[in-house]
Amino acid sequence: MNALVNLAKLFKFNGGVHPPQHKQASTTQPIRVLQANLPLVLPLRQHVGNIPHLRVQVGEHVLKGQLLAEAEGGISAAIHAPTSGTITAIQDALIPHPSGLPDRCVTLQPDGLDEWTALTPIDWQHMEKRAVVASLRQSGIVGLGGAAFPTHIKLRSDGRSGIHTLVINAAECEPYITCDDMVMRERAADILRGIAITQHLLGAERCLIGIEDNKPEAAAALRAACHAADSSAQVIVVPTIYPSGDARRLIHVLTGLEIPSHQRSVDVGVQCFNVATVLAIYRYMSFGEPALSRIVTVTGNVARPGNFEVPLGMPVSALLEAAGGVLEDTSEFIMGGPMMGFSLPSPEVPVTKATNCIIASTPSLFPPAAPAMPCIRCARCADACPVSLQPQELYWFAKSDNFDKARDYKLFDCIECGCCSYVCPSNIPLVQYYRYAKSEIIAQDRAKEAANLARERNDFRLMRIEREKQERALKHAQKAAGAKAEASKIEPGKAEPSKAESGVQHAADPAVNVAASPASAQAEAAKKAAIAAAIARAKAQKAAQAAQNTAAVTPAVAAEMAAIDARRAEAAARAANINKDDVAEAAAATHVADQDSTTSPASAQTVSSVAPNSKEPS
């Protein structure tokens, strides 16, 4: 019932900006489908999470839709062949990533036949939900808004309280980008089918489609499709304000729910998907078609801007050709929008699942920033920040390497949306400072973790030595007691109390060690075990807390940290003889193993040098 009340009203977040839209240029023509004819270069990691496990070899012939690499570990996504052809290379190549670093890629030489492998549609209506979601792991589908978070993980319902609302992110708030807009105009019916499937899998009672009011055609198409499909999904037109497409902001605008900083949207009963993602879910379920292509906006300084359905792995340069070629003065190519995108290291990098938009840029289109002046504390940035941060303070702390303060001022809640830089009269590249501070803090945290781990390992080693010593002493004492030796006989120093805690091994002092009776030794050992258990508990707790501090980091890093935590907890448990279940629980308590894409995918840019991202809040 509450839900209905909420619907009547939209909610606002602080700040936001209104950059010029520039969306018309690329919406004049329908989506054009491109065929794969050039060699396709498929980065193995096109998503947030683990690099998938390669299933093919150089020289192998593959069919369109065939699995090339399989999802590995918790957060990962599969890679498939976008067309039929031969694998000609598996090597490191440049990928579209701000770091400009190469990563492992599979090169596929198309044979021009575009021959499909056998596809198996999923009978999602009749299969058990869990099995349906599990099958999605093979689909290679990731969030197509730019965050590229594996979709199957967001659909898992294990151990979660009920999800009441499915939010469909159709805001597409970044300037220039129109791929979602065009998909909605042209494929609204299929999107609605995808929504039905997603809603079914989540068990959500309602579906809210949030779309900015600068896309009236798309909104009308969706409404018509809702009507035609007799769907209960509601198309809710929200004011155009950047970054309303950020998942947390959009959920707030639509539902009034504010997802607590250290929680995910599912914790408040909401899950959010991009329109193109639900469309991909539909295609997978209905036709068994995995993620092979995506819609990319090509705009800016090109002859014929527009949207293209592009086979993954196609070089950006070919895409630019398809858009009529780049015009004079083009100086660089931006992937993503102008607010959160990044410059491509080369136009030869391939299109990936995260490539939502390519902008051919000229110095006049995006003039280089004027030299930065000192901050004049005008607070325009604070007025613009959608997270209600104090960017001018964060800037100050980041600049002076005062990272503790930066953390106190919630640096990790920053979504790197760029609103602050956009309005700063002193032209300060604020977001760059935040990226820098975040990566520094994460690096420090990691170093600390590593040091802790090493220290703990040493502690355990000492503890183990101590325990063995005690066991020996115990045995010895028992033997001695059993042999009814003379009362005067004293065994020197084998039951010395543990000094493992301090890490110092004292030589046994025979003078202190009077009578090591079996009873006292046993009591001692029991007490020590109890203490060790308590320490382990405390440590696990601390680990959980530490993990929370950086909870808003990229899932990739988070997963790694979780792994470290698990290792620590396990080691601690081993020492304290806690059973395995408790270990699992401790690791789960760290709460980071499966982050969803709503948590600042942006920081991927700072942190991991390989995870592709453009994290445009669509």
């Binding site: 900006v17 990044f342 209600s388 941060l389 104090q390 919630k410 609103c419 956009y422 977001v431």
Partner: protein
């Protein structure tokens, strides 16, 4: 490396400062109308001094000179100081005050963006402490209207302190209405009697109230252009109004009316141009309100109970001290966090 966002919408610092200067023009025009062109000489002197001083210090500090001169902040400081000084103040007073404001209060702290105190007010306070008599001698618009003091005469007076023979000294150095009110109150006069003297107009001092009105107009322009937010002007003016209204209602014969306080002295200049200096002011909306209310209270207290005729400069400086604290304790709730 990503350099996003690639877009920028912001007016540059220079544009902001330019608009501030623009917004000061109505006030200056009123000044010229009421007191004659002498103020223009002060403004020019102050601007020149500020630019030269800024350039010299920047060079000494081995910082780029041109971009910082172009930002316009030095001229804003210079103009604010010149407008706060008596219109026919001797040239060296203007120069010394500006030097102090730019060199000590601004550049010694690190230049634009780093000064914890409002430079113009530091310059003003330094002059007030060092040359109290000169600082309280204002031309009387009433007397000026009767004599004809040409621009050349004013020029002459500013540089040589000599007047044409037919001009009485008290035309150019009498007490301000605020000052007059205070001294007369000490002499047991009632407010209504004092206000009947011809130097008072219908709001504040005759003539000076026009300057205040014109300044208000410029301030509204700044608000409209979103160069300043409403928090500081509103909180300051409201506090001053409320306090003076309360005292006025309690003892109308001892305390001047709210409109007198609003349109006398530097109240309007403070509300829109001085207290709103972003560098030395707070950043959070709540802190701005408290900061400006504090200036309002202090201004009133110093005006009514203190030893100085106007309290703006000291009120601003005192509240500048509180800024870090105010900001720290008024952090807005971050999205997704409990307060």
């Amino acid at each position: 490396m990503s350099r996003s966002p690639y877009l920028s919408s912001a007016p540059s610092v220079s544009v902001i400062m330019l608009k501030v200067l623009l917004a000061l023009l109505p006030g200056i025009a009123a000044y010229v109308w009421v007191y004659g062109g002498g103020i223009l000489i002060s403004l020019a002197l102050a601007s020149l001094t500020a630019l030269l001083a800024e350039a010299a210090v920047l060079r000494l500090r081995q910082r780029p000179v041109l971009p910082f001169l172009m930002d316009g902040s030095a001229i804003v400081t210079a103009w604010l100081l010149a407008l706060a000084l008596p219109p026919l103040a001797p040239w060296w007073l203007v120069v010394v005050g500006t030097l102090f404001a730019i060199v000590v209060a601004k550049q010694l702290y690190g230049g634009l963006g780093y000064n914890p105190f409002n430079p113009a007010m530091i310059g003003y306070a330094a002059l007030l402490i060092s040359f109290p008599v000169l600082m309280t001698q204002w031309p009387s618009p009433l007397a000026l209207a009767k004599v004809s003091l040409s621009f050349a005469d004013q020029w002459h007076y500013i540089f040589t302190r000599s007047l044409p023979l037919n001009v009485p000294v008290d035309a150019i150095s009498s007490a301000t209405p605020l000052d007059y009110l205070k001294t007369q109150l000490v002499l047991q006069q009632s407010v209504s009697d004092i206000r009947n003297t011809p130097i008072f107009g219908w709001l504040g001092g005759r003539g000076s109230e026009l300057v205040a009105l014109a300044t208000l107009l410029g301030g509204l322009y700044l608000l409209h252009q979103r160069i300043i937010s409403w928090h500081i002007p509103l909180a300051f003016l409201a506090t001053l109004t409320l306090l003076s209204a309360a005292f006025h209602l309690l003892a109308p014969e001892l305390h001047a009316s709210p409109q007198f306080h609003l349109f006398s002295g530097g109240a309007m200049l403070c509300a829109f141009f001085i207290a709103t200096d972003p560098v030395s002011g707070p950043t959070t909306p709540l802190a701005k309100l408290v900061f400006a209310a504090g200036i309002g209270v202090l201004t009133y207290v110093i005006r009514v109970f203190g030893g100085y005729p106007d309290g703006i400069a000291f009120a601003v400086i005192l509240m500048n001290i509180c800024v870090p604290l105010l900001d720290a304790y008024t952090q807005p709730r971050v999205f997704g966090h409990e307060k």
